[in-house]
């Protein structure tokens, strides 16, 4: 496919104004996929104003959105920029806004989408370049909930003695522990978009994982609830459910947030 050098590449180098970059459809044999990819680069003339580029890539069975953008990059335009690594939905790098929904590129089958497929960076986050967004705020929120196991009197590892945990309890935190930090949920939440201090569904879910883990003990659970029930914590959630709908790991985020609200209320009632 190397021969299919896109003619617009040339124009781009001249920094000409291009709204539509098109790879010639007719040069490709067989079924093709039409993708429209958001482009932006603060440094490159012609890309400082966001635009959409069109690419036509050959379709293959089982092809994912990530495959399509990788093909477009490797074949037509090596400056097309996006994060990706594992190709198997565990690294959480490639959450994009695909046809109006936050999805993992590597986990989204082309065959399930309507064409042309619009691929944009995650909304509500600053765009660094093309499909790459600034994740710092997301990481900050994750760090805010003290995302680490806290238990002062664990056994000595040398004794090979584990902390006991019932299979039921492990089952309870199972879903919450699957989060891959992709940021899709945060991007989909209107509240997080409006309120920068809102912890956001992913961070709350992270806290849920620890708060519900019986190994941590009551005192630390209370400490965790106190972090969660500050003003920009769980109460900000307006149960919009969009986080739950987009989570590629099928984590029932809204359910977890609601459970924490109830836990917090219960805890406060005890003092009355």
């Amino acid at each position: 496919m190397r021969g299919a050098e896109s003619p617009v590449d040339e124009k781009e180098k001249q920094g000409g104004d291009i709204d539509q970059q098109t790879t010639p459809e007719d040069e490709l044999e067989g079924e093709t996929v039409h993708i429209k990819v958001f482009r932006y680069d603060p440094e490159v003339e012609g890309k400082q104003e966001p635009r959409f580029d069109d690419f036509h890539v050959p379709f293959e069975k089982g092809m994912t959105v990530l495959d399509a953008v990788m093909y477009a990059r490797d074949t037509y335009d090596s400056s097309l920029t996006f994060r990706h690594s594992c190709r198997q939905a565990v690294c959480g790098s490639d959450a994009f806004f695909v046809n109006g929904k936050q999805r993992l590129g590597c986990k989204t089958q082309i065959a399930d989408l309507e064409q042309p497929i619009r691929i944009e960076p995650l909304p509500h986050q600053e765009v660094v370049k093309d499909l790459v967004v600034d994740m710092d705020h997301f990481y900050d929120q994750m760090h805010t909930v003290e995302p680490y196991f806290q238990d002062e009197d664990t056994p000595n590892p040398a004794d090979l003695e584990e902390q006991r945990q019932s299979p039921e309890n492990r089952e309870k935190i199972k879903m919450s522990s699957r989060c891959i930090w992709c940021g899709a949920c945060m991007s989909s939440c209107n509240i997080a978009a409006g309120d920068n201090d809102y912890l956001g569904p992913a961070a709350i879910n992270k806290a849920y994982k620890f708060a519900m883990d019986d190994r941590e003990g009551e005192e630390i659970k209370e400490h965790r609830l106190r972090i969660l029930e500050q003003e920009h914590g769980v109460w900000r959630c307006q149960t919009q459910f969009s986080c739950t709908e987009v989570c590629p790991k099928d984590i029932p985020l809204t359910e977890h947030i609601q459970e924490l609200k109830r836990e917090a209320v219960k805890k406060n009632l005890k003092f009355w």
């Binding site: 190397r2 680069d41 603060p42 440094e43 293959e60 089982g62 994912t64 990059r73 490797d74 074949t75 335009d77 090596s78 400056s79 920029t81 996006f82 994060r83 990706h84 690594s85 594992c86 190709r87 198997q88 939905a89 565990v90 690294c91 959480g92 790098s93 986990k107 089958q109 660094v128 370049k129 093309d130 790459v132 994740m135 990481y139 003290e146 680490y148 196991f149 238990d151 664990t154 590892p157 040398a158 090979l160 584990e162 902390q163 006991r164 945990q165 019932s166 299979p167 492990r170 935190i173 199972k174 522990s177 699957r178 891959i180 930090w181 994982k209 620890f210 883990d213 190994r215 941590e216």
Partner: protein, 612 residues
């Protein structure tokens, strides 16, 4: 210039563990990683962590299994260290809150895995690596360890004495992916490479796009030899279209392999009459390819892995994410149909030569994890033995770099009086430097080695020039083309089945790639998040690494572990109980050998026939 006591390059399981250990030893440690830690490929590991935790089990059994699995190419001191330390280090993970799967009595579960004499693979669902990675990252956050994420390490800042054994490493040069700035990182006490595997040297791999062997290549060019690179593990069960891995856990739980004729070929065709599907990986991978080559493959490409008979409940309980993988990446429902699988590049047993403390022959340069070769895996890694390696040797490297005394290592490194030079094999082409590329291993300027600061500064200058050269060039070839050519050559000729002619062909193609690379250019003119630039640099590293794999595969004329040679169908213990070492030698690679250490603490591991 940034400055820390210990700099850890890479934030996968090995890097994080090393950083925590160095921090606990009181060091000012920082992690520099091209990916945010939680994006590291350790997160993809599914099956589990081998550790002799239970009463009926014993570290000696673990060591024995590992030695046997390695086809007697593992070094006993390393293997025994792994088996002895794994239980405690695994327990520590539990104490850090890692959500292991549990038994009714609340204890952590263990399951059987290929090549193990006892079910000692400790697991957390089918997402053990994910939990391991996140649990350790959580500990890094807890300790407030500095992480420079999305910083790409380009080169090591190593002094330029003639003999690698006399050299010392003083830091690294990295560029900030977001801004494109090239900066120096000075390390007062040590640099630990934990950059993971080189899977991208192959076309069909279970490894991530980021597994480009950067650490291998950087250490190699700085003078540390690469060891046993020819030993590449091909996992028998990867999905044909993407290379996504279907965990060995499926077979551990009782999954069965069928050929197109519906035969359970592992038994019916006699590949492994005792262990069947649970024979070691190389055996199963070869069996599958033999089935396909003999016309009993499905669609002439793959075989079937069936787990339906395990029942929905058990599958959902233990292997749920396998169902998702098969569905999302292959469009197959594992509850109602068998899953297509074929061998895919999976793991590199070889790597940067280090001792039990993780140190290379270059002073202050350490390596841990998949990029290192201690060597515990020898000719073939057992499933579930990589994750314990990360935590055991990651921890040791971190502590040693931070100045803790871990005792004299028994394993020797670098060129020395105990090695034997390669003399016999004729190479089809001259490997090594092709001349024009401005990336060299050491901070050479012909003069006397400068002080640490000066060395780092000089390397930063070199790196800036290199980036400018790549960016300024306006045409030539693009890295993607070279990379594809390289990957195809490796998959075609240095795969599961290797022939002398094939490997030679691969070496010629690698040479071509090297020459083409002299004209490589970066099309993207932007300094911001330039992945084109990053991948171009990675491709250079892949060329170096692929070449060592092919060289090793050519010189080792025997069949051991994962290394199969058509012309040499037997294991030659008289001749080959030794490691292959390849040293960059400032651009003129040298091959030499170091004997395997089979003497353990209180027993010697006698090579036995490996049968399953």
């Amino acid at each position: 210039m940034y400055e820390h006591d210990v700099i850890v390059v890479g934030a996968g399981g090995a890097g994080l563990r090393a950083a925590i250990a160095a921090h606990e030893a009181g060091s000012d440690v920082a992690i520099v990683s091209k990916l945010h830690p939680v994006r590291s490929h350790t997160g993809a590991a599914e099956g589990g962590i081998n550790a002799a935790l239970q009463e009926g089990d014993d570290w000696e059994l673990h060591a024995y299994d590992t030695m046997k699995g390695s086809d007697y190419l593992g070094d006993a001191p390393a293997v025994e260290t792994l088996a002895q330390d794994a239980p405690e280090d695994t327990m520590r993970l539990e104490h850090w809150g890692m959500p292991f799967s549990r038994e009714e009595d609340g204890r952590v579960s263990q399951r059987p895995f290929g090549g193990l004499s006892y079910p000692r693979t400790t697991y957390a669902g089918a997402e053990t690596g994910h939990h391991l990675l996140h649990t350790m990252y959580e500990q890094v956050v807890k300790r407030g360890i500095q992480v420079y994420d999305e910083w790409y390490v380009m080169e090591l800042a190593t002094s330029d004495e003639d003999e690698p054994n006399d050299r010392s490493c003083h830091g690294v040069v990295a560029y900030d992916v977001q801004s494109g700035n090239v900066e120096g990182f000075k390390a007062n006490d040590g640099v630990i490479l934990a950059t993971g595997g080189p899977g991208q040297a192959f076309d069909h791999t279970t490894n991530a796009v980021s597994c480009t062997g950067d650490g291998h290549a950087m250490a190699y060019r700085a003078g540390a030899p690469l060891e046993d690179m020819e030993f590449i593990q091909f996992h028998p069960t990867s999905l044909p279209s993407t290379g996504v891995l279907i965990s060995e856990g499926v077979r551990g739980e009782g999954g069965i392999l069928y050929n197109s004729e519906g035969e359970r070929f592992m038994f019916e065709h006699g590949y492994a009459n005792n262990s069947g599907e649970l024979a070691s990986r190389d055996v199963v991978a070869r069996a599958e390819l033999t089935e396909v080559n003999e016309g009993r493959g499905v669609d002439d490409e793959y075989v079937h892995l069936d787990m339906r008979h395990l029942g929905e409940e058990r599958i959902l309980d233990r292997l749920e994410n396998i169902l998702h993988l098969a569905e999302d990446f292959e469009g197959v429902d594992g509850l109602v149909e068998p899953m297509p699988v074929k061998p895919g590049q999976h793991y590199a047993m070889g790597g940067i030569e280090v001792d039990e403390n993780g140190q290379t022959c270059v002073d202050g340069l350490y390596a841990a994890g998949e990029c290192a070769c201690v060597s515990v895996h020898g000719g073939n890694r057992l499933g579930g033995n990589a994750l314990p390696e990360l935590i055991v040797f990651g921890k040791r490297a971190g502590r040693h770099a931070a100045g803790e005394d871990l005792g004299e290592p028994q394993i020797r490194t670098g060129y020395g009086d105990d090695v034997e030079d390669e003399t016999e094999t004729e190479l089809p082409v001259q490997p090594g430097d092709a001349g024009l590329d401005t990336s060299s291993g050491v901070a050479a300027d012909g003069g006397v080695a400068a002080d640490a600061q000066g060395i780092v500064e000089r390397k930063v200058e070199q790196a800036r020039t290199r980036v400018d050269t790549l960016m300024d060039r306006d045409d030539g070839v693009q890295h993607a083309e070279i990379r594809q050519k390289l990957q195809n050559a490796m998959t075609d000729y240095v795969n599961v089945f290797r022939t002398e002619e094939g490997v030679k062909k691969a070496l010629r193609i690698i040479r071509e790639c090297r020459e083409e690379y002299q004209n490589v250019y970066v099309d993207d003119p932007s300094r911001t998040f330039n992945t084109d630039l990053q991948q171009t640099i990675e491709t250079r590293n892949l060329i170096d690494v692929a070449e060592t794999i092919a060289l090793g595969a050519l010189v080792r004329d025997e069949f051991r572990g994962a290394h199969w040679r058509k012309e040499h169908q037997e294991r030659k213990d008289d001749e080959w109980l030794k490691h292959t070492l390849i040293s960059w030698n400032d651009g003129q690679p040298d091959i030499f050998y170091r004997p395997v250490i089979l003497e353990g603490q209180d027993k010697t591991y006698e090579p036995k026939e490996r049968s399953y």
